[in-house]
Symmetry: C2
Subunit: 194 residues, 2 copies
Amino acid sequence: MSTKEKILDAALTLFSENGYDGTSVEQIANIVGIKAPSLYKHYKGKEDILNALIDSAEERYEVMFGSEKNIGKVPESREEFIKVTMERISFTMRDPIIRKTRMLLVQEQFRNERISEATTRHQLDGIQRMFAKIIKGMMDEGIVVKDDPKLLAVELTAPAVLQIARSDRQPQCEKECMEYIEKHLRHFCKVYMR
Amino acid sequence: MSTKEKILDAALTLFSENGYDGTSVEQIANIVGIKAPSLYKHYKGKEDILNALIDSAEERYEVMFGSEKNIGKVPESREEFIKVTMERISFTMRDPIIRKTRMLLVQEQFRNERISEATTRHQLDGIQRMFAKIIKGMMDEGIVVKDDPKLLAVELTAPAVLQIARSDRQPQCEKECMEYIEKHLRHFCKVYMR
DNA sequence: TAATAAAGCTAATGTTTGTTAGCGGAATGG
DNA sequence: CCATTCCGCTAACAAACATTAGCTTTATTA
């Protein structure tokens, strides 16, 4: 990993834990293993690092939700849908980079318009668009009741998003959050699946 | 309004806009109309102000959700339920103090355990407990399908909570958010109400 | 191998920040 | 009416901060 990447990595960790204003350039440099002024050989300044982090988050977002590829095949049964959805959620919840990015965005969402928009994209649009497609697929197969897929996607994802946010701030409740999500998911299936 | 209250008021505004670390004691004092050191006649320090803000948020929370009073009478028709719920959500969304408190909590939720817990209480438990009671009331009246009221409360509130958060960070989308919430609410009624 | 660019370092700077010390006036209460 | 408490002020401080300047070493490349 290049120094430039190491800086981003360290900054993401620190920003997600202590916020942008709560993190000093020196702290970042410490983790990377260089002195603070050396950091300016790689980035113009602290804000530049934050921008680079948002850039990379947006890029990752594009890879994950931009193409149709990551939907996978349409689940054929209720249990399969539950299993595959729980895995997806569990991954989103636990993957360190996704988690840190989420925590960064949520804390800095009021800093500027770019971050506001990115936060909405990441927290709402992405997941909902993704599940809208999955649900649409299942509607076409006749295993989900006919309705507006986008609307059902909201019903499906909103409670999960809130529980993920909760487990971000209270990691000791992670298990509880997952159980909650599964309970809700089973309810969703009961209501909307044949 | 006493100086002590003015300080809390100014701090809430600034913290909610720029975050705790992004706000200086001097900025707070400026709004109040005193010099920064005078502030220490009222509070031990900056952190003390934050704690007082959380105290007052918790107190307000207790008043709003602690007693059974604020539920009002059980709505008798679908349209009445929609109307009264939209009013409640619209109030929560727009009331300046509630809004600023929400923005403060969301930004500082990782600062310490107390704020983490308060955030969960305010963002999840409170609204859900409240609507669980309303829904329970409507179940008893037979106008809502029999099910776990807490679970239905989550289905009802989660999408609204996310849209409220969105309109906090993108106020220009407020109208869109409200429409979204109403759409979701009507869907909820269609699915669960007779 | 010589020249150049990249990337580290130390030292330093100017600003901002939270906070304390101490002074003076105004309000309060016995 | 005097003593005390409250609450404002100025001055000052020490620490933390982001950033720059300039030197040295390492890596690249011609």
